[in-house]
């Protein structure tokens, strides 16, 4: 199986309908190819929304199991296969938020308890402590789930507002305004620290 799974680069082959038809005919290799095409994108989506590796793996497994079991219900006339998968993934991620809402409450804030910050023996420069992914992670964590979904689908997956609206089950104008709100909030979050930090990081990477 390793040779079949060697290439996980994101790709959206033009013959997805043919792949799906072969899957429905019972070809096991076509299932593998279909998974290879969309696994990375779906993982990125799940991780960007949940910000937790284990949760992302659980949800992604659930997404593919559901999609492959209900492959006959996919209608290529209504949406692209990736959009259909994203719809399932966003729905499953929302279920996960609901399940973990209680655990995600910051009890220290509610109880007005201040825990001491982790002590570091050696003062490290900012660039070695954090990297670009951490900055994006912190910025996304500040957003509400709906705004996070909108901005990740728009900038992380390059979907149109109509596709985002279909996935989020809202009008296209609402999807547009959510992206705009997320953009403004991320700007205020990234600007004081993250913006300069990211620029410095990229300069270091380019050198």
């Amino acid at each position: 199986m390793a040779d079949q799974l060697s290439n996980y680069e994101e790709q959206s082959p033009a013959d997805v309908p043919a792949l799906i038809a072969r899957c429905l005919a019972g070809d096991q290799n076509s299932y593998t190819q279909l998974y290879n095409c969309f696994a990375t994108a779906m993982y990125r989506l799940c991780y960007s929304l949940l910000l937790n590796r284990q949760d992302a793996e659980d949800v992604m497994q659930d997404v593919f199991v559901y999609a492959f079991k209900n492959l006959r219900r996919y209608d290529s006339q209504k949406s692209a296969f990736k959009t259909w998968l994203c719809t399932i993934a966003v729905s499953r991620c929302r279920n996960m938020y609901r399940r973990k809402r209680f655990l995600l409450v910051d009890w220290s804030q509610l109880l007005h308890v201040q825990f001491p910050a982790p002590h570091s023996d050696m003062p490290e420069p900012a660039l070695t402590r954090k990297d670009a992914a951490d900055v994006i992670h912190a910025a996304l964590a500040e957003l509400s789930p709906r705004l996070r979904e909108a901005v990740v689908l728009r900038y992380g997956h390059g979907l149109t507002y109509r596709e985002i609206a279909d996935i989020m089950n809202c009008p296209p104008k609402t999807a547009e305004s959510r992206v705009r709100l997320a953009h403004e909030q991320l700007r205020s979050r990234l600007q004081p620290v993250g913006h300069t930090l990211l620029e410095e990081l990229w300069q270091v990477q380019e050198q």
């Binding site: 199986m1 390793a2 799974l5 060697s6 996980y8 299932y31 593998t32 998974y35 696994a39 990375t40 993982y43 990125r44 991780y47 960007s48 590796r53 992302a56 793996e57 992604m60 497994q61 593919f64 199991v65 492959f68 079991k69 670009a132 992914a133 994006i136 992670h137 996304l140 901005v151 990740v152 900038y155 992380g156 997956h157 390059g158 547009e176 992206v179 705009r180 953009h183 403004e184 991320l186 700007r187 990234l190 600007q191 913006h195 990211l198 990229w202």
Partner: protein, 175 residues
């Protein structure tokens, strides 16, 4: 100031090229004159570029994670083998009996309560208020009735010796 507020609310849409042509012209004209709004526009443009550059790489998985997930997906999709019941039927029956007994114990009090609750209550006793002063009418009537009952028709006795349908005894018929 009002123009600044209007323009800043539309900067993200301008960056994403989502404004209608007339609004775009108005906002662009303001940006040409207002340095503060221009700086804000440049900042937001940079943020968008950062997001578009960084988000597609955010949370990229390693191949081992994807292989692990694929193995789990395959095991979930595999049709489940038919299960052979290796337990003795007696055991399963005894387990079912225990469950049924527990349910009975739990449900009986509820059923008992429901039964008692469905029985209508007795009507509360009515208080009779006497509006008239008691007279000796009843006391007078009772002896009269007793006298009527005790009074027998003429020619009848209180205790007949011979019933009407009893044939006459032979000793009485033969002198």
């Amino acid at each position: 100031m009002l123009q600044c507020h209007y323009t800043r609310a539309r900067i993200p849409a301008l960056i994403n090229q989502e404004l209608p042509i007339q609004t775009r012209r108005y906002v662009a004209r303001h940006l040409d004159h207002c340095s503060a709004c221009r700086a804000e526009f440049e900042r937001q443009k940079t943020v968008k570029q950062e997001l578009m550059r960084e988000l597609p790489h955010f949370g990229k998985p390693d191949e081992s994670a994807l292989e692990r997930i694929w193995a789990q997906v395959q095991s979930d999709l595999r049709p489940a083998a038919p299960r052979h019941n290796t337990r003795l039927p007696l055991k399963s029956y005894s387990f079912g009996g225990i469950i049924a007994g527990l349910l009975l114990v739990l449900l009986l009090p509820i059923a008992g309560n429901a039964g008692t609750m469905s029985v209508p209550h007795h009507p509360s006793p009515q208080i009779i208020v006497l509006t008239e002063t008691p007279t000796n009418r009843v006391a007078v009537a009772v002896p009269t009735l007793i006298a009527l009952v005790a009074q027998t028709a003429p020619g009848e006795t209180d205790t007949p010796t011979i019933l009407d349908n009893t044939p006459a005894t032979p000793s009485a018929a033969v002198p």
